[in-house]
Symmetry: C2
DNA sequence: TTATGTGAATTGCTTCACAGCG
DNA sequence: CGCTGTGAAGCAATTCACATAA
């Protein structure tokens, strides 16, 4: 376990645990446990403890976890205790829905620029931001720091728009288009460009979710075992 | 490998392969191979062949795959060769964006009902559909078949809205709310209700994607090895 | 006595090497 | 001879049991 191999799934689960802690805090619950978190997150208590152990020791043996403390630690681990300046590429219906989605402004995620190529959209004002032309992204990034780019263009333009973001120096891309972003300038050339080596891409894919749902609704027997561990049973059970 | 254990990840990849095949068909490419698909999907050729093998034998040895045939097979496997009647719960900004998203209408996914509880929204007409009150869902489902429910309500109402869908007999839920749906009536009661046993839930989670992106952008070294296999190397290479 | 933290065992996904077929 | 299909090997992620600390 050499600090290198942390399963991707573990990061997703940390986000879930953080959400649970936020909900508990709103309900003024001050303490929790790996069992409680496990049940709410629909994983095993072993899993919760292992996931947390990748990043430190946040509990008290015999007692469990204190909600505000564990929450603060997860916020730190996930990098949510800093400002994230975000630009949106593509300000059509999807891009506007993203810009207006409440909750994105939590944890200092802030939209600082909106970009599009459609002359009917460029120049419009949305949420107090003037929509700029995508060609101006590069100069924009030089005037102020940008950490992340959200990609909300039609799928056929996603690769080019991603390239624009990366060429401008942006290292984190949240791709909403139903397509795979290739870590290279052109879909054809097969060597991954240096600038791409530092880029993280995460996908948010509505259509893929829809199709997976179709499959599992049609084949419920192939669903991942559902009743995944909740409460940690005592290994005992026999009469003493 | 008893037809029971097909990794969830394999299903996600099938969706990706299908997309690639659609793009190839648009470009009038008629043949492909596990190597070609692997490169485009950013997985190994072994993975492509194994994923396809879970469901059948779709290629020709020595030749590869014919695009229209493999596409047709994947459409069938994923259950996309039938009609899917969908209702949307929650017709605020997010629900409307979903209703208007192009591409959802592919493969016979069709919105047949829109539901909300907000009196300002109920009664409005969106995409030719009158928004009904969520209380009318149950009777609505009795008048016409509904296969899937898309959940686009605020997170604090997601559990109750999911329960409404499931009680109405809907077995597939696509959850857009940033919360975990518990397979039970109330978040408190811990026994999973019978009606939930047949329900599939898939999540589409924008905020979670954003937070994972924050983490990996801050910790690029922890990213999943990125340069995952593309071209299958010949095991040879030595002089004979 | 309780519930965490963690090396060890296990499961299951991915990778591999090659048999099978066109 | 090329590329698929697939049992077996390898490896990574999860599960487990228990030592540890409050």
């Amino acid at each position: 376990m050499s600090s290198q191999d942390i399963p991707t799934a573990a990061i997703s689960r940390l986000v879930t645990y953080l959400r649970i802690l936020e909900a508990l805090e709103l309900q003024d619950v001050s303490r929790t446990s790996s069992n409680d978190l496990a049940e709410r997150a629909q994983v095993t208590a072993f899993q919760v403890r292992k996931d947390l152990a990748y990043f430190g020791r946040f509990g008290t043996r015999g007692m469990g976890y204190t909600v505000p403390l564990l929450k603060r630690e997860l916020v730190r681990v996930l990098g949510l205790n800093r400002t994230w300046n975000v630009v949106i590429m593509g300000v059509g219906r999807l891009g506007q829905a993203i810009a207006n989605y409440p909750g994105a402004s939590d944890y200092q995620f802030g939209y600082v620029g909106l970009f599009d190529v459609n002359p009917e959209i460029v120049g419009q004002e949305i949420r107090g931001l003037r929509v700029r032309h995508a060609d101006d992204l590069s100069s924009f990034v030089r005037t102020q720091p940008v950490d992340l780019g959200f990609l909300a263009v039609p799928p056929e333009h996603a690769q080019a728009a991603a390239q624009t973001l990366v060429s401008a120096g942006i290292r984190g891309v949240l791709n909403f288009a139903p397509t795979i972003i290739q870590p290279r300038t052109h879909p054809g050339s097969s060597n991954p460009t240096d600038e791409w080596k530092q880029v993280s891409v995460e996908n948010v894919d509505f259509l893929a979710g829809m199709k997976r749902l179709a499959f599992y609704t049609l084949n419920p027997s192939l669903r991942p075992s559902e009743l995944n561990g909740t409460v940690e049973l005592k290994p005992d059970g026999g009469l003493s």
